[in-house]
Amino acid sequence: MARGDISVRVRDLHLEYDVFSERRAGLAKRFSTGSGSGRRVVHALKGVSFDVRQGESVGILGSNGSGKSTLFLALAGLLPPTRGEILVRSEPKLLGVGAALMPAASGLRNIRLGCLALGMPADELDEVIEDIVAFTELGEAIERPLKTYSSGMRARLHFAIATAVRPDILLVDEALAVGDKAFRNRSRERIESMLASAGTLMLVSHSMTELSRLCRRGIWLEKGVLRADGPIDDVIELYEATGAADTADA
């Protein structure tokens, strides 16, 4: 367990799933042939391979629909590979606790719920909750219902909960550039201290500034295929040269 050891190994990863489309065949055809129900197979990842080492921070680039989010769902263990394999040193955690939270409940109640959703045992909660509350710097707003929060306040709460469990491998599929400048600095410090203690960060972002600031390595996905893998600035340059970045909110 040291810096430089492989923490995630992805080999020939394929991911397919069914979706229903709007166009469907008539009922008679649906029953007679069993097809035409509108099910269509989406081939989101087509043989992706890479290794990520401990202490490494990897930015994932690619236009919309290139398979970035699917890759993260697979890495988080939420979508089993159709083919290929994912090997990990410890379970990667996706920074995204929003789904577990309840708008009508207070920030404090939601911290509890978010920690439990991340798999924390109830008897360890009390001390962790104190840290999270302090980190969010939400003050007495922590007692207010979540639905009264501004988007910045909510993002602070999400980040504080998700990073409180101190995962060894953190997957971030949303902007880290949230909240005011002071909070941005503190979240960056937290990420950096995680990387310093041989953690691994993988970040999906459309912001080239954020990618080049937080990551040293870049992986470019396009239509489910790995297009480039190397130092972040080189990959960004390559990505932008194709014009793909024109549409992105860089």
């Binding site: 190994r9 089993p80 040193r89 789904a99 409940a105 991340l118």
Partner: protein
């Protein structure tokens, strides 16, 4: 779905496969490890469900109390019927609330996978937690309804009894049936969303044949031996009878109760295995 640190084979570099199918035993252990979350989810939902009302948590009790009030008004004063049953209002309220626990658990179970898509796309946990926490949620609501049943019973002159001590056993039996049904409904509805449209009709048919609002023995079966046997096979009839025996001291058919126990355990075991067999398909985009 969750991978254990012990069972998964490690590579020389100390890596292990991320998604591996775990044994039933490990799966149950993973569920147990997540028990705090399983309870917190429906509990927080219940707690925050009436937060935006003036009376707030009073509604948990107010709701079933008003339901019971309406039944009392309609059946005892407007229609003036007792269908030949002693203490009909208490008898009816027990039947309605207890049947509602089963129907809402199963319908809720069917919808639960779809309702928790977001959760499943953010966190790893044994998916069985979703129908389980759905069942717990409805059980919490039923707790308040039971309190109303007791209030109505005491108000109508039924005294406390030692039979009330049987409540945990009756609840256990009832919950096994509801959970088993939820597991089956959850997987069926995840595979075919059409199922959710059919379930309400099945549940309504079941309601009229389970002795919720009238005695099935007298109205449906009469002297027909085969109809009597069929009724004995319906576990809900036996469960409602058990509640009524507890509160009102009505007679119970021991044979039917044994059948209900066997059926509930069988449904739970089958439902759990049936649900788990599709573990990896829940929550796919």
């Amino acid at each position: 779905m969750a991978v254990s640190d012990v069972s998964a084979a490690q590579t020389p570099e100390g890596l292990r496969p991320l998604t591996a199918t775990v044994s039933a035993r490990q799966y149950l252990r993973d569920i147990w490890a997540r028990r705090d979350f399983t309870f917190a989810l429906p509990f927080e939902e219940l707690r925050s469900s009436h937060l935006d009302t003036f009376l707030g948590n009073v509604w948990h009790l107010g709701n079933p109390l008003l339901s019971a009030g309406v039944y009392y008004l309609v059946f005892a004063h407007i229609l003036n019927v007792d269908r030949g049953i002693d203490n009909y209002i208490v008898w009816l309220v027990i039947g309605v609330f207890a049947y509602h626990l089963t129907s809402s658990s199963i319908l809720g179970g069917a919808k639960s996978i779809d309702n928790r898509q977001g959760l499943m796309r953010s966190f790893r946990f044994p998916r069985a937690i979703i129908p389980i926490s759905n069942t717990i949620g409805h059980l919490l609501t039923f707790g308040f309804q039971l309190l109303v049943v007791v209030l109505v019973a005491l108000g109508s002159g039924v005294g406390p009894s030692r039979r009330w001590l049987a409540l945990p056993l009756v609840l256990l039996l009832h919950t096994m049936l509801n959970l088993g049904g939820s597991f089956v409904a959850a997987r069926l509805n995840d595979a075919f969303r059409d199922v959710e449209q059919l379930i309400p009709f099945v549940l309504r048919l079941l309601q009229y044949t389970s002795g919720v609002m009238f005695s099935v023995d007298r109205v449906l079966a009469g002297d027909n031996v085969w109809a009597q046997r069929l009724i004995t096979l319906n576990p809900i009839v036996a469960i409602l009878d058990a509640y009524r025996w507890m509160i009102l001291g009505n007679p119970m058919r021991p044979g039917a109760l044994v059948v209900a126990v066997v059926e509930s355990v069988a449904l739970l075991v089958f439902g759990f295995r049936f649900f788990r067999a599709a573990e990896h398909s829940y929550g796919k985009p």
